[in-house]
Symmetry: C2
Subunit: 148 residues, 2 copies
Amino acid sequence: MQETPKESKLAKVSPKTRKVFEFIESSKSPLGAYDLLNDQNLRAIGFKAPTQIYRALKQLLDLRLIHKVESLNAFVACCKEHEKGPSILAICDNCGQVQDIPAEDLAAQVKREVGKKFPGLKELNIELKGVCEDCTSEDSEVQAATVS
Amino acid sequence: MQETPKESKLAKVSPKTRKVFEFIESSKSPLGAYDLLNDQNLRAIGFKAPTQIYRALKQLLDLRLIHKVESLNAFVACCKEHEKGPSILAICDNCGQVQDIPAEDLAAQVKREVGKKFPGLKELNIELKGVCEDCTSEDSEVQAATVS
DNA sequence: TTCGGGATGTTATACTATTACGGCTAAGTA
DNA sequence: TACTTAGCCGTAATAGTATAACATCCCGAA
């Protein structure tokens, strides 16, 4: 059985950090540090203080196994396709789910666009808010809107 | 003298809210709510509690006179050119300054890119980190890097 | 064995943001 | 005029997010 990138990355972390990843990965919505600490049973497996959670989150961020959703102060698992590349986080205001959409091309355009004004580009964070496909089709009240 | 959009917007807010805008506009770096409250002399002009600052900030955000930099929990004034449109916030890790770069074209491409997966796009937030032009040329250690 | 460094545990604190409630004032109206 | 209501502002309390500082343990290198 071939090892996936994700598994090889997880091999490097402690069991507790792995557990944090599993909770985030299995959640349908982004989880905050305190969601993990209080609502999930991370206390049951030995996490007692925020610091511990943040340390685990930092490792997972460094390994690019998770993203921080800055506008929600919460964390989501990376989708499989873009583990190396930039992505867009699309946050549904209705159901709360976040899609992690690979965005290689877009990153290239951003680089061109900011070009001279900002030559030392290192990190790119794109977050969208709106209504996802599922919620749009389920709820006829909610219709496509334009970028503000 | 013709009224600019900025001035007509500011005409709608209270003197204290206007003062908050002036501090943000004149600052070289993004300011947090508590920077405004404590470090600047907003206490001197009658602000006593965070709530008051946040109320003023909300008005300014609603009028699109300022942006929130989500990854810093801080606020910057909008540049003049894009008061209606989407923009990119480019944050320099070296000097702390944030450039607000108009990005109409990019917003259009984002819409195309996420298209079917996220039809109800309403808000778009793009933040970059890296090194700005000034810091790149001043400091030869710091060279252009690639998007991670 | 001893030293040093990295991971982990623990406590405290800093930083960010909102809720709740009460008073004041301005505009509408019987 | 008196009443009402809605919005703005003041104040206090609290909720939510994140880090600092320091102790401890464990393991590998000298």
